[in-house]
């Protein structure tokens, strides 16, 4: 479970990336974060995983405060960044061993997990090669395998499907479902509305650092009172925010 209470984050004390965001993501749930580029999705996910400190507010992962008890919180979650360029000069197997050692995964468990995950993602044959020889999709897969070795209760995934082939993408979606069904939490961001529509139990729409909507797909349709696709609803919601004259700076507004 992830509890986010009134978190805000600004860069250089000028750009407000996230503003007073509050959210509860429950166990047994896959939660999708939707929003245009620069909406604040990655910043939010990084704050949840402890990579960024919120200016205000608090975040708890399974009841553990991410800021106050970072080491304990890290043991409870795995974060997959949108940039899969990790230690490129390590071999795939060396990278996985490093993470298994750092997360103190028992020998039999790590062997079993890595065997299973690398088989699912079609990586078994390339583990002895350096990561720098991998394609973008393969790098994404090795990062995913590394993040899931210790099987934490909370998964935080930033655009995890990017670069994955259809088979791996399908596997990942299944794994997310299996993980949530075991009583765990999965939070992920995506640009692919189709994925969000099919995979998420609930979704949140974020634009310009503000949460515009939180709920199920049915609630979203109900709110907008039509049967149109998620794409239309999303564009309608985000479009309103993005093209609002209030989104312009004073200087820009003045030049109009």
């Amino acid at each position: 479970m992830i509890s986010i209470h009134e978190i805000s984050k600004s860069y250089d004390q000028k750009t407000q990336a996230v503003e007073s965001l509050s959210l509860e993501i429950y166990d047994n749930e896959i939660f999708g974060f939707l929003g245009p580029n620069g909406a604040g999705k990655t910043t939010s996910l990084k704050m949840i995983s402890g990579l960024l400190l919120p200016d205000h507010g608090s975040i708890k992962v399974n009841g553990i405060d991410v800021v106050a008890e970072p080491l304990e919180a890290k043991k409870n979650l795995s974060f997959v960044s949108d940039d899969p360029n990790v230690f490129l000069r390590l071999k795939g197997i060396e990278y996985l061993r490093f993470l298994a050692d750092v997360y103190e995964v028992a020998e039999d468990v790590r062997v079993e997990h890595i065997k299973d995950l690398s088989h699912r993602f079609g990586m078994s044959n390339v583990l002895d090669q350096k990561i720098q020889s991998y394609s973008h999709g393969m790098r994404q897969k090795i990062v995913l395998i590394g993040a899931l070795i210790h099987n934490p209760p909370t998964w935080v995934l930033d655009e995890p499907m990017t670069g994955l082939d259809p088979s791996s993408s399908y596997q990942l979606k299944n794994m997310m479902r299996e993980h949530a069904d075991k009583g765990n939490t999965v939070l992920f961001s995506t640009h692919v509305l189709d994925v969000a529509e099919k995979v998420c139990d609930r979704l949140g729409v974020i634009a310009e650092g503000k949460l515009l909507f939180v709920g199920t797909m049915a609630e979203l349709r109900e709110k907008h009172q039509d049967d149109s696709s998620l794409e239309s609803i999303f564009l309608e919601m985000v479009g309103e925010e993005q093209f609002s004259p209030f989104a312009l700076s004073e200087e820009e507004a003045g030049s109009l």
């Binding site: 230690f87 060396e94 996985l96 050692d101 997360y103 583990l127 020889s133």
Partner: protein, 572 residues
């Protein structure tokens, strides 16, 4: 021709920037104003090569002055004519493969609507530019200095440039033919990292040999002896017969005052054109297939069940972190060269420089250090000069340690992967141990070897050997801990080239020069204390030891404190 020139307009500035590139020279995304070097890459290039040029000019003056006394100044020209193809072959081989086959931009250019021949010609010009700059840095100032000292005619000055250009183009062209064949039909140099590492090592050895030769020449000059040429006369006089371009270049320059030189120039140009034509013919057939073959992935090796299990054997967190640090440091040619290797090369160069300079007059090392050896074997220094021994050891440990930038770049080297350091559930102090471990262990080992070498040579007593080792280790440790503190304060995490993380970065520079400054402070403080205590060697020594230990303790405390804060204040 238009497209060839268009390509050169892109390739040459990139190449010049690449040669002169040092960390922080390129304008970064976040930098408001580009640095002078970033705006004028040729200036960075000039700075990079300036020390070779200074040595070269000095060499030209020194050697010509002596040869002139015996009326043998023409030997200088022959010697240079013989050396140019050697330098061209060494650097051409390394840069040729690296630039023609290892660059990632090749895919982009091959996709452009440009004839293959045009692209190949532009790439070859780009590589030759590097060779020309290198050869010219080595020999142009020497030839100019030679011309001035030897009182050569105006024609000589005019012919210097054609001499350098033509005598390097022909061997370059001939060299590339086996390179094209090797890269097309064998698996040679497929491992880019390994090739780059070996190239860099060869480059360092050549530079060191050159610098040591200069040092020897200068010592011989001081002793009013006849200095040796770059190569023995018998070697180059025979060798030139097999190098037509160098032979004609040599004759052209020697006869610069007569019209004969023009005939030699024409012959030189003809030989060069034939070599280039053959090379272009071979390049047209083999270059692109070689490049495309280079892109192929090697055969996949699948781990057996046993290997798989063995490769995943559990280790402690600390061991895993240290192992990762070592692997990333040793597997990156740039990181290895700029941190570990530079810490080995610099002290080695100093010791060898002293040795070469000291024995240039024919003295043995024993006779040079005879007095010191005799003194160290007595116990006189224990009583009167202990403080000097302690001061030298503390300062030398710091000074030698300052060349090891493994710790002062440990955070910066991580770049964007610092995110992983923040994400993993490993305590900051545990990660700190891994960050400083390579630096401390390499510095410690080097110090031990240095002391063993010097101690054995100067016949140190076992007690002095032990004291020297321990005091030096404390200093080396202090430098590494101070280095990591500086890198934690000024980490360079947003880099696009590994060079930017380790070369001329803020933390590396402060780390190196700061440590050198600290060595100076130690010396100054020792003299001050000795004066204050009215020459009481024991008190001064004790205070200096306490100072060294205090520094080590302070930087350990500071590093632990900063590591704990680092994950909070560095956002990525």
């Amino acid at each position: 021709m238009r497209k060839y020139l268009l390509l050169l307009r892109v390739l040459i500035p990139e190449s010049v920037r690449g040669i002169g590139e040092s960390g922080g020279l390129r304008p970064g995304k976040k930098r408001k104003r580009a640095s002078l070097f970033a705006e004028k890459p040729w200036l960075a290039l000039l700075v990079s090569y300036s020390f070779i040029m200074i040595y070269s000019a000095f060499f030209g003056v020194a050697l010509t002055g002596t040869l002139k006394l015996s009326g043998l100044e023409d030997q200088f020209v022959s010697s240079v004519a013989f050396m140019i193809p050697i330098i061209t072959v060494i650097f051409g081989f390394m840069q040729g493969i690296s630039s023609l086959y290892h660059e990632s931009k090749i895919d982009f250019f091959l996709a452009l609507p440009i004839k293959t021949g045009t692209y190949v010609a532009a790439k070859l010009t780009e590589v030759y530019l590097y060779i020309f700059i290198t050869v010219a840095s080595f020999f142009l100032p020497a030839l100019l200095a030679h011309a001035i000292v030897a009182g050569r005619t105006v024609g000589f000055y005019f012919l210097i440039l054609p001499f350098v250009i033509f005598s390097s183009i022909a061997p370059f062209a001939v060299l590339l033919i086996p390179v094209f064949v090797l890269m097309r039909f064998t698996r040679f140099a497929r491992n880019k990292d390994r090739f780059q590492l070996i190239s860099n090592l060869v480059f360092m050895v050549v530079i060191m040999t050159f610098a040591l030769s200069m040092s020897r020449v200068s010592s011989q000059m001081d002793m009013e002896q006849t200095p040796g040429l770059l190569v023995p006369e018998s070697v180059y006089s025979r060798g030139l017969r097999f190098l037509p371009s160098s032979l004609f270049a040599d004759l052209m320059l020697k006869n610069a005052s007569s019209w004969q030189s023009l005939w030699y120039l024409l012959l030189l140009a003809a030989v060069t054109m034939v070599c280039v034509a053959i090379m272009l013919l071979v390049a047209g057939k083999l270059y692109l297939p070689g490049v495309l073959g280079n892109k192929g992935s090697k055969a996949v090796r699948v781990l057996t069940q046993e290997e798989f299990r063995k490769a995943l054997k559990p280790r402690s967190q600390t061991r895993a972190l240290i192992s990762k640090e070592w692997k990333l440091l040793l597997r990156s040619p740039t990181f290895f060269m700029q941190t570990i290797l530079s810490s080995i090369i610099m002290p080695l160069a100093m010791i060898l420089g002293g040795f070469v300079g000291g024995t240039a007059g024919g003295d043995s090392m024993g006779s040079l250090f005879g007095d010191q050896m005799a003194y160290l074997q007595t116990d006189a220094w224990w009583r009167s000069d202990l403080w000097i021994v302690v001061m030298v050891l503390v300062a030398a440990g710091i000074f030698f340690g300052s060349f090891n930038m493994a710790s002062s770049t440990a955070i910066s080297r991580q770049g964007q992967t610092f995110q992983t350091s923040k994400l993993i559930p490993a305590a900051p102090h545990r990660q700190l141990i891994a960050w400083v471990f390579p630096g401390i262990s390499v510095s410690g080992l080097l110090w031990l070897l240095t002391i063993l070498f010097i101690g054995t040579f100067l016949k140190f007593s076992p007690l002095l050997m032990l004291a020297a080792t321990i005091i030096g280790w404390i200093s080396c440790y202090t430098v590494q801990m101070a280095g990591i503190c500086i890198d934690m304060k000024y980490p360079t995490l947003s880099w696009t080239s590994e060079n930017q993380a380790v070369k001329n970065s803020k933390s590396a520079m402060i780390g190196m020069f700061g440590s050198m400054g600290l060595a100076g402070v130690v010396v100054a403080l020792s003299f001050l204390l000795n004066a204050v205590t009215q020459g009481n060697s024991a008190i001064t020594s004790a205070f200096m030891l306490a100072f060294a230990l205090g520094l080590a303790g302070f930087f350990t405390w500071l590093a632990r404190r900063m590591a704990a804060e680092l994950f909070r204040h560095v956002e990525i």
